[in-house]
Amino acid sequence: MAVVADELILETRGLTRRFGGLLAVNDVSLALRDGELRALIGPNGAGKTTLINLLSGLMRASGGAIRFGGEDITAWPAARRARAGIARTMQVTAICPALTVLENVWLAAQRSLGRPSALASRSPQVGDRARDCLRLAGIVARAEEPAGSIGHGDQRLLEIAIALALRPRVLLLDEPTAGMSVKESWDIVERLREIRARERLTVLIVEHDMEIVMQLAERITVLHLGQTLAEGTPDEVARDAEVQRVYLGGR
């Protein structure tokens, strides 16, 4: 598939998710251009995580469609989307605590290089890839430690390393700085910048810290009550009267 500069890589049309009578995501049409860094913001309960869940396939849409690289992936299960190049991190860290840090990344690297064999030993190629991703995330020194024993901040970075090991085209980051100190948060921002400088990646990031959002994002989408309230460059969004009323001003 040829990558055109302005090609849309991930696109939703009328995406909807219903929980009983509640429309958590209501008719959202989102279009991510290949290579852009988009922030997804909105008050609590706006539907940000639900939208990420729909995009990554952990949740099925009640309505609407999702296209990835021109293909309709609305019916694809999560694992297939991950293999196709949509990686995500969880808001609450999801790792295998008993495995080492390296093994956690290794799993994703292995799948992106082929099915795991039952009798062969672990291939060094996969290990190298996993180490590269740990280096990129800045936690390669922790490689041999059990993943459950490293600090919270490092676990967040581990999540990012695992996502990178899939060699994704789109990276969905659900509050990667959740529960981190200000300094740690900015470390993550630095990491993300470095990663983006090295890999061609489209990033959709859910982030609460407006300072980080304004600095990092190229474009911002504001969700409110499950619907798109505004979309534009950081400046445009910051000036938007509606956004000021429901979100920025309310803080």
Binding site: A82, A87, P116
Partner: protein
């Protein structure tokens, strides 16, 4: 290699064993193999099955039908045993792996009970409680030592167990083994790393059933007989007990558990009628104090 020393010791052991000792040791190897097979499902992939008797019994009956209807060849019988158990596990697993935890347990109990009832009702096919008998097989079709000789049975059971052990040890350390561990520990993580969790559960279930069936095949060719009681739920429960006692975290743990419990039961049965009582007490103590079983205890003792 400590394990190699153990193997050499086991090769030499019959020299000091009597007829019954050899027979009983072969029995232990067979059930140890069954327990190791069970543990692919339970220990590696985290699915608690209470229906593995069915795979053992399918393997045993498969081997017997192979002997009765195909050829009097013990090795062909083992192939048929594995094929029969694998087919069953593929079918059952297709449905069972769609659910987890207690629902999975219930599905495995249900299918094995259905097969137990069928085995008892289809007496023409299975022989019911009386079972099916066939004249003892020769080691190599038509010639060689009889498999009913305890010494031959001993080495056949030990040989199959050793080969299975080496393969399972490889599996545990292989890429697939690591994936199964991830599927067991954090389903969501495995999914987001691109693995179809149900597929890998299914694969583990089928492998597990195959090895249990192989054990059933060994049972059949060394006993020259099978019966419908092999489908009994107690056979399924035994695998769970042995594995919990021996430890689900290693390949050898369940085998050690099977060996210890069988040897213990046999020894105390001279004085105690209800041998399940001391085994039950032991199980409770182990689950409370050493939840990773004897092999887990051994490991932490070694590392400390």
């Amino acid at each position: 290699m400590k394990i190699f020393a153990v193997f050499v010791a086991l090769v030499l052991l019959p020299a000091v064993l009597g007829r019954f000792g050899r027979f009983f040791a072969a029995e232990i190897f067979t059930w140890a193999l069954y327990a190791m097979g069970f543990n692919i499902c339970f220990g590696m992939a985290g699915m608690l099955s209470f229906g593995h008797a069915a795979f053992f019994a399918f393997g045993a009956y498969g081997a017997t039908f192979g002997v009765l209807y195909l050829a009097r060849d013990p090795w062909l019988a083992l192939v048929v045993a594995v094929a029969a158990a694998t087919t069953l596990a593929t079918l059952v697993g297709f449905f069972a792996v769609r659910v987890v935890s207690h629902s999975f347990v219930i599905i495995t109990i249900t299918f094995s009970l259905v097969l137990l009832l069928l085995a008892h009702s289809q007496k023409d096919l299975t022989g019911g409680d009386d079972g099916l008998l066939f004249p003892p097989l020769a080691l190599v079709a038509g010639a060689g030592a009889s498999l009913a000789t305890p010494l031959v049975g001993y080495y056949v059971a030990l040989g199959v167990l050793a080969v299975a052990y080496v393969l399972l040890q490889r599996l545990a350390r292989s890429p697939l083994g690591l994936v199964l561990q991830a599927v067991r520990d954090n389903e969501r993580r495995a999914t987001l790393a691109g693995y179809d969790v149900q597929r890998y559960r299914w694969l583990a279930f089928v492998l597990s059933g195959s090895v249990a069936g192989l054990a059933g095949g060994v049972y059949a060719i060394t006993h020259s007989q099978v019966n419908a009681q092999l489908f009994d739920i107690t056979v399924s429960v035994d695998a769970v007990i042995w594995t919990l006692i021996g430890g689900a975290g290693s390949v050898l743990g369940p085998a050690v558990g099977a060996a210890l419990v069988l040897a213990f039961t046999h020894t105390v049965s001279n004085w105690i009628v209800y041998t399940q009582i001391p085994v039950g007490i032991l199980l409770i103590l182990i689950v409370i104090f050493w939840p990773r079983g004897l092999s887990g205890m051994w490991r932490s003792w070694q590392t400390s």
